[in-house]
Symmetry: C2
Subunit: 413 residues, 2 copies
C-alpha cells in the first residue's frame, strides 16, 4: 500500500563513527520479532531531542527530559538510547515511571555507565503495563550484537505496524570535511490500531555544542516531523532525537551563525524530511502522497493552520482517495481553519498545475477533467495563496481510504 516508497539498500546506509546499534527479540508483545533496540554512543557525543506535546506523555518521555536536563546542568553525557516496541508505557502512572527508570538502570549496569546516561523510548499499546522483566531480559542480547553497520536492522527493530523499515543516509562535504548522516524513523503505518507513535533518530559525526544542537533539533523538527499528518492524532510517545558524535574532522560547530552550521542544518533538514515523508508514504491505508503548500500568509503560523485544516479534513482526504475533484471541500477547510480576518476574495487555489479557484471562486477556465487528471496521480500538490503577506508553510499528508478504517478497526487480538 505504501505510496512511492523508495527501496532502501542496507549497504547505502553509512555507518556513523561513534554509533553502534544492537537489537533483540524480547517477546515484548509478540514472539519472533525484533522489539528492542540499543543505540550506544562513544564518549563525547552530544544529544538533543524534541518530544510529544501530548499532556499524557509516556513515562519514557518524562525520563528522557529529566536525563537531558541533567546533561545541560553539567552531568555526564548520554551514552545509550534504548527503544522497545509493543508497549507504549503511557497512561501507566507511577509504576510506568518506575519501569522506565528501571530500564535505564539495568542497561547502565550492563554497559558500565550511569543510569542518567541512558535515554528510554517506548512505542505500542497505551494503558497497559510494560513487561519490564522481558524487556530487561532482552538487553544483554541487544548489547552483544551491537555494530556500526546495523542501521537497517535498527530500523526494523523499531517498527510496530509499519509495513516497511524507514531509513535514510547521506554524506556532505562542509568546509572540505566529510560529514556522514544516517537516520531511522517509524510510525503511522499502524496495521494494528494501537501503535501511533512517531520515533525518529538521526545521527551524524560532526561535533556540535549542546546549545546549538538543542536549537537545531527544534528547527529541524519544525521543518520535517512537525510537518506531517496522517490522521491528526498526536501520540503520547513522539520523539525525535539528534545525535552528534563529534568524530568527523570538521571543527566543532559552536554557533548557529556560521556557514558550517548552515551547511549542516541543510543536510540534517533534508534527511529528516526524507525520514518524515517515509512515514507518510507508509501511512495507514495511504494511496496518495499529498503536499499542501500555503503561501502569502501574514505569518507562518496561519499558513500551517490552514495547511493542517486541509490535511486533516476527512472530506478532503476521502475525495483524494476517490480521485473526485470535489474541490469546494478544500475551500471549506480553508474557511474553517480559524483565521478570523481571512479575506476569501483573495484566495487562489491550485491543484498541481491546474488553477482551480481565483478570487475565492471557481476559475473561469477550470474544467473538472483537469482537476481529476491531477487527482489520479499518486503525488499531488495542493497550493493555496492567501494574498495577505509573504509567509509560507508546507505539510505532507495522505488520503483516507477504506484500508485506514480496516486497519484501525481491526480488533487488537
Amino acid at each position: 500500500m505504501a505510496v512511492n516508497f523508495p527501496s532502501i539498500d542496507p549497504a547505502q546506509l553509512h555507518p556513523v563513527a561513534g554509533v553502534a546499534l544492537g537489537y533483540a527479540e524480547a517477546n515484548i508483545r509478540k514472539p519472533n520479532r525484533k522489539d528492542v533496540l540499543v543505540i550506544s554512543l562513544d564518549e563525547g557525543a552530544t544529544v538533543a531531542g524534541v518530544f510529544t506535546s501530548n499532556r499524557f506523555c509516556a513515562a519514557p518521555v518524562t525520563v528522557c527530559r529529566e536525563h537531558l536536563a541533567k546533561v545541560r546542568e553539567g552531568g555526564k553525557g548520554i551514552r545509550a538510547l534504548v527503544v522497545n516496541t509493543g508497549n507504549a508505557n503511557a497512561g501507566t502512572g507511577e509504576s510506568g515511571l518506575a519501569h522506565a527508570r528501571e530500564t535505564c538502570t539495568e542497561l547502565a549496569r550492563l554497559a558500565g555507565i550511569a543510569p542518567e546516561q541512558v535515554l528510554p523510548f517506548s512505542t505500542g499499546v497505551i494503558l497497559e503495563p510494560l513487561p519490564i522483566d522481558r524487556l530487561k531480559a532482552g538487553l544483554p542480547a541487544a548489547l552483544e550484537c551491537r555494530a556500526a553497520a546495523h542501521w537497517f536492522e535498527a530500523a526494523q527493530a523499531i517498527m510496530t505496524t509499519d509495513t516497511l523499515p524507514k531509513a535514510a543516509s547521506r554524506q556532505v562535504t562542509i568546509d572540505g570535511h566529510t560529514v556522514t548522516l544516517t537516520g531511522i524513523s517509524k510510525g503511522a503505518g499502524m496495521i494494528k490500531p494501537n501503535m501511533a507513535t512517531m520515533l525518529g533518530f538521526l545521527a551524524f559525526d560532526a561535533a556540535v555544542a549542546q546549545d546549538v544542537l538543542d536549537a537545531l533539533v527544534k528547527d529541524v523538527a519544525d521543518r520535517s516531523f512537525n510537518c506531517i499528518t496522517i490522521d491528526g492524532d498526536t501520540s503520547t510517545n513522539d520523539s525525535f532525537m539528534l545525535i552528534a558524535t563529534g568524530k568527523s574532522s570538521l571543527p566543532a560547530v559552536t554557533s548557529t551563525n556560521t556557514p558550517a552550521y548552515a551547511a549542516l542544518r541543510e543536510a540534517v533538514v533534508a534527511l529528516a524530511q526524507t525520514l518524515a515523508q517515509l512515514i507518510v508514504r507508509d501511512g495507514e491505508g495511504a494511496t496518495k502522497f499529498m503536499t499542501v503548500q500555503v503561501e502569502g500568509g501574514a505569518n507562518e503560523g496561519e499558513c500551517r493552520q490552514i495547511a493542517y485544516a486541509i490535511g486533516h479534513s476527512p472530506l478532503v482526504k476521502t475525495a483524494f482517495y476517490a480521485s473526485d475533484p470535489n474541490l469546494g471541500r478544500i475551500l471549506a477547510a480553508i474557511g474553517y481553519a480559524g483565521i478570523a480576518d481571512l479575506d476569501v476574495a483573495k484566495i487562489e487555489l491550485y491543484l498541481g498545475d491546474v488553477h482551480v479557484a481565483t478570487k475565492g471562486g471557481r476559475h473561469p477556465a477550470y474544467r473538472e477533467e483537469d482537476g481529476q487528471r491531477v487527482m489520479k496521480e499518486s503525488e499531488i500538490t495542493i497550493r493555496v495563496q492567501l494574498g495577505r503577506g509573504s509567509a509560507q508553510a508546507t505539510i505532507w499528508t495522505c488520503d483516507l481510504s477504506h484500508d485506514y478504517v480496516s486497519i484501525n478497526a481491526d480488533y487488537r487480538s
Copy 2:
C-alpha cells in the same frame, strides 16, 4: 444505517400558528425530488439566526445576515424563508451573491413583500454556479402549495443526502398558556460527498422580542447544533433559525430574566437538541451514537475542547466502530486537546458505568471485557473528569465506519 432513529409520525408534528410551508420539485440538481422549500410567516413574526463561522460562508448566508441586520435597524419584519438543495451557492463569488439576491427579489415579487423580508438558504455542492432560472421557476409551485400542516414535507424538501427526514415537535404550557414548537433539520447524512450543510429551522407561536430572540438563538445553538460533530468539517452554509410567530396567548417575552423565558428556553433547547441529535443518528455511516461528557473543568471552553478532541479523533471513532476497547486512544486525545496545564494525574475516565482510568492510569479493577461490553452497545457515554473545577460540557458524535469512506469517496456523478 441510522442509529436508533425514532420513527416520525407526520401527524404528531403540530402546526405552528402563523407558519405555512410549501415545496416544489425544481430540478435543481436531480429530477423528481422536492428541492425547494418556502416557509412563509404571518406579519408580526420575529426571526433570529446563527450562521456558520466558516470564512468561506455561502452567498445566502451573507444575504441572510444583511436582511436580519435591516430588521434590527427598524426595517420591515421577515415574512419568508426560501431553501434550495442540490447547490450550496458557496465559493461562487460576486455572481453567487447576485443569485441569492435575485432569489429574494423573485419570491418577494410573487408574494407581494419586499426583497429584504426574505431569507435565502442553500445546501449542496460548493464551487458550482446556482441554477437560478430553475430555482426561480420552482417558486410559484412552492407558494401555491403552502399549508400549516406541511412540516413533514418541509423536512423532506431540505434533505440532500440524509437518509431520513428530521423533524420534531412539542407543546408546553407556560404560565397557563399553551405554546407549540415544531422544527426540522438536515445534514450530515451525506450519501453524496458534497453536501455537508447543517440546516435547522425551529418555529414556535410565542411572541418574543427581537433582542431576546437573538440571545435565545445563540444560547440554544450552543447547547444543541454546536454540540454535534460527525467529521469536524464545518460547512460553508450552516444555519439555525428561530421563528417566533407571536400567535400564542402567552404575553410577549421581552426579557431573558423572567420565568416565562426560562420555560420557553427549556422547551426550545430540548427540541433543538432532539433535532441536532437526529443529525448525528443519521450521520454518514454511523453505527454508534456517542455522548462525550467532560466534567470538572476550569471553564466550559476547555471541557468542549477536550470533548471535541475525543469526538474528532479518527482513532477513537474507528475503535468504537470496531467495539475495540482500545481506550488509551481516549487518553491520548485528552492529552493533545491543547490544555497546556492539564494535570493528567487527576484524570478519571468512565465508559458507560465502567471506570476505565483513575489518576491518569488504568483503573486496577478495570477489565477489558467490561469495556467491550459497553462498546458493543449502540448508545455509549464517554465521561471524563478533569478535577480542575466545576464546569462541564457535552457533545454528541458517531463512530467512523467503512461506510463513511464509501459515502464520501463515491464519485458525485
